[in-house]
């Protein structure tokens, strides 16, 4: 086996001799490698690196928002800068942090999990990454463009869903909105092509014996996610095209004076916007479904139901978008329909939570860092789901729409759910990708500081919302009973920031000096753990053959293989 690795390495070097001046190890060689690479693992890394970059940028903006709101009548940011800050925070976090994480994890893990050597279309993969990345860079150049570094630059300032008619030329002169729409249009191209690529990889490059019914759950949920990307990113692109036509060529799509309907923009945006939530959360579900069984020492409980629930979520998520729009004055039939659909989508999500609990029940739990994040995820996502059902009740939503209750709800989904899932996956697969384990002590600090900070930030916001604090206000007056809770929330944001910094230190330190992981540090069961850590460029010396859902278990336990029971 060692021999064949050497031969393959030799062949690799023979095929690609380094040009003079670009020998391995120099900075130029490294940068050149990043620019020209089509390897799914390196691109996965780059997606994740890009994600953390925008996470930091978005996090700094979030801190500014919280500092401004810490006390009444504050003057950290002026109103224009505040509008820019929350718009850029939302856009960066959704499209350039969370989406990059989805694609980063999918890129890195999926080919390894299905026993493939690379993605279906490696060059398209590089194209997807670079367009997404440049889209994000383009968006952020708005800070130094337009009026320049003085003041606030030309940062988009119409919130991350940019409601019409605020986005029309009359109300948003300058180029702020154009940065937003063109940035998302560019990155959308990368996202859609990436989605097609991942789906083709899953359908066409599974190793022998890996039927759909034996696919690891992470891959399954990525498959559903990418289906949603392929189906529901184009509406966003279409809406952006209309916005660009309207702003540059005077088209009339959302202009009420010409008979147009600003509400149509909301429909188009949320037709994309709600599936987007599931695009982000399903891969997190997938991570949880990989981590919980391994750290409970039990196979996942109810695999078929998990798959069915994911597919159900995929389909139902297409029919719930207007629950973001209860307050625009829809007719009662639509309100009832979308409220009902919202309740229905809670069912498959509930099934998943029960299945994860069922997996843990009676298991031999190992409280490693990935598992801690999963357990926190279960609690937080449950609460996020429950406040979601509350907001799905149209009358309740009429009361609380556009208040801090909504902010608290979706940050519970996105931070408490998705970010915690990403952290779990990061701690779980980091040893595979780098060959070194993340430091446990720093990991524990990261987990506890971040979790406490998270709850301190967002728990009070539920009450702020019920006390009537609207979202997107840049300051508030004294004496409304909001001071204490806002201060608490700001302190929480700072603590969360410290947690994130601990994590980044851990990541950088462990990548260089962490404990050597070995091929299979967690005693896991899926194919990515059969190869070396980090995996060679060709992933597997020999394309594996699979006979059950836990191929590595079969290898380790030939006396009691899974396929006897499937």
């Amino acid at each position: 086996m060692a021999n064949s690795t050497d031969t393959l390495k030799e062949i690799g070097t023979e095929l690609a001799p380094a040009p003079p001046g670009h020998e391995h190890g120099t900075l130029t060689a490294w940068i050149q490698d990043l620019i020209f690479t089509v390897d799914h693992k390196k691109l996965g890394f780059m997606y994740i690196g890009m994600g953390w970059l925008f996470f930091i940028a978005g996090g700094i903006l979030a801190s500014l928002i919280r500092l401004q709101l810490a006390v009444p009548n504050n003057h950290v940011l002026d109103p224009e800068a505040f509008n820019g800050a929350f718009t850029m925070h939302g856009t960066a976090m959704i499209f350039f942090f969370a989406m990059a994480m989805v694609f980063g994890l999918a890129n890195y893990v999926v080919p390894l999990q299905i026993g493939a050597r690379d993605m279906a279309f490696p060059r398209l993969n590089a194209f997807s990454f670079w367009t997404t990345f440049f889209g994000g860079c383009f968006l952020f150049t708005s800070y130094v463009a337009g009026p320049g570094l003085y003041g606030t630059g030309a940062a988009p300032d119409a919130s991350w869903f940019a409601l019409a008619p605020l986005t029309s030329r009359a109300f948003s002169p300058g180029n702020n909105i154009d940065y937003w729409s063109l940035g998302l249009l560019i990155s959308g191209v990368g996202t859609i092509t990436g989605g097609v690529n991942v789906m083709v990889t899953i359908f066409c490059y599974r190793c022998k014996g890996m039927t759909l019914y034996r696919m690891p759950l992470f891959t399954w949920m990525v498959l559903v996610t990418m289906f949603l990307v392929v189906m529901f990113f184009p509406p966003l692109s279409a809406a952006q095209i209309m916005l660009v036509l309207e702003r540059f060529f005077g088209a009339k799509f959302f202009e009420a004076q010409a008979g147009g309907s600003p509400v149509l923009w909301q429909h188009f945006f949320w037709i994309f916007g709600h599936p987007e939530v599931y695009i982000l959360v399903l891969p997190a579900f997938g991570v949880i479904s990989e981590v919980i069984p391994v750290f409970s020492r039990k196979p996942i409980f109810g695999y078929p139901m998990m798959v069915a629930a994911s597919v159900m979520i995929g389909f139902i998520s297409a029919g719930v978008w207007a629950h973001h729009m209860f307050t625009i004055g829809m007719d009662s039939f639509s309100v009832t329909f979308f409220a009902f659909a919202t309740f229905v989508i809670a069912i498959p999500t509930g099934i998943k939570i029960f299945n994860w609990l069922g997996t843990m029940y009676g298991g031999k739990l190992r409280m490693e860092i990935p598992m801690l994040f999963c357990i926190a995820f279960l609690f937080q996502f449950l609460i996020a789901g429950l406040t979601g059902i509350m907001l799905g009740c149209a009358p309740f939503d009429w009361q609380l729409n556009d208040s801090y209750f909504v902010i608290a709800h979706f940050h519970y989904v996105i931070v408490g759910g998705i970010v915690f899932g990403v952290f779990a996956g990061f701690y779980y697969w980091f040893p595979k990708a780098t060959g070194r384990l993340l430091n446990t002590r720093l990991g524990l600090w990261h987990f506890w500081v971040f979790t406490i900070g998270f709850h301190l930030t967002f728990d009070p916001q539920h009450f702020l919302g019920i006390l009537g604090m609207p979202r997107r206000i840049y300051t508030y007056q004294e004496g409304r009973g909001w001071e204490f809770l806002n201060m608490l929330s700001t302190i929480g944001a700072i603590i969360q920031g410290i947690g994130a910094i601990i994590f980044i230190i851990n990541m950088i330190w462990s990548a260089r000096k962490g404990k050597i992981a070995g091929d299979d540090p967690w005693d896991a069961w899926t194919l990515e753990w059969t190869t070396t850590s980090p995996p060679p460029e060709y992933n597997f010396e020999e394309i594996p053959e699979v006979r059950s859902r836990r191929p590595l278990w079969d290898l380790k336990h030939p006396e009691d293989p899974d396929w006897k029971f499937e």
């Binding site: 279309f121 097609v196 066409c204 509406p235 279409a238 095209i241 088209a251 147009g260």
Partner: protein, 198 residues
């Protein structure tokens, strides 16, 4: 019962062709894009506040439709020729397809010229103008992409770079071309047949 034979796939491990799955997904995602523009057109039908209105200025695109729909047939003929190894026939029918596609674009160009300079309908005139030009223009841009693909294949084939084993590549391009045709059927129905009522 031996579980061994049950777990081992007896038949050969067969997976779908990446090209076919890929182009199917591209068609799906493009359909989703078109759907939004179609919905916008239908939603704003009859809601324009100022003329010109569709029934006054639109004419049924007999010629354009004839060009485009028949090109779907010629591309199939070209494909069959390639499968049979008749490269001359392939080139001929492929070229006819390109000419028909180009003819469609010329027809659209003249239609737009007429609308802009005689009827005064532009993108910014009214809701009808905005939705009409965006939907028909999106389709026309897909025709342009299709023509680029078709022409590249013709050049590659004339320089001897297309072999019989490439017939699946060719087939994928014809799938895309059929999709562009299918979208035209939807556009004709929505913009002209339904649209001309108001």
């Amino acid at each position: 019962m031996s579980t061994d034979t049950y777990a081992t796939p007896e038949t050969e491990w067969k997976l779908p062709s990446p090209r076919k799955v890929g182009i199917t997904l591209v068609i799906l995602t493009e359909s989703s894009l078109f759907t939004i523009f179609v919905v916008a057109y239908l939603f704003y039908l009859g809601k324009s506040l100022n003329p010109p209105y569709p029934r006054e200025v639109l004419e049924f695109p007999w010629l354009g439709s004839f060009f485009l729909f028949s090109s779907s047939a010629t591309v199939v003929v070209a494909e069959q020729r390639l499968k049979k190894g008749d490269r001359g026939g392939f080139h001929l029918w492929w070229l006819i397809t390109i000419l028909l596609g180009a003819g469609f674009l010329v027809y659209t160009g003249s239609e737009w010229y007429h609308l802009i300079y005689h009827d005064g309908l532009t993108l910014s005139t009214n809701l009808f103008g905005s939705t009409f030009y965006s939907l028909v223009g999106l389709h026309a841009s897909h025709v342009v992409v299709g023509l680029v693909l078709l022409s590249l294949i013709l050049v590659a084939s004339l320089t001897g770079n297309i072999q019989h084993r490439h017939h699946e590549h060719i087939e994928m391009i014809s799938w895309y071309w059929h999709f562009v045709d299918g979208i035209w059927a939807v556009v004709v129905t929505v913009v002209y047949i339904i649209g001309m009522q108001s």
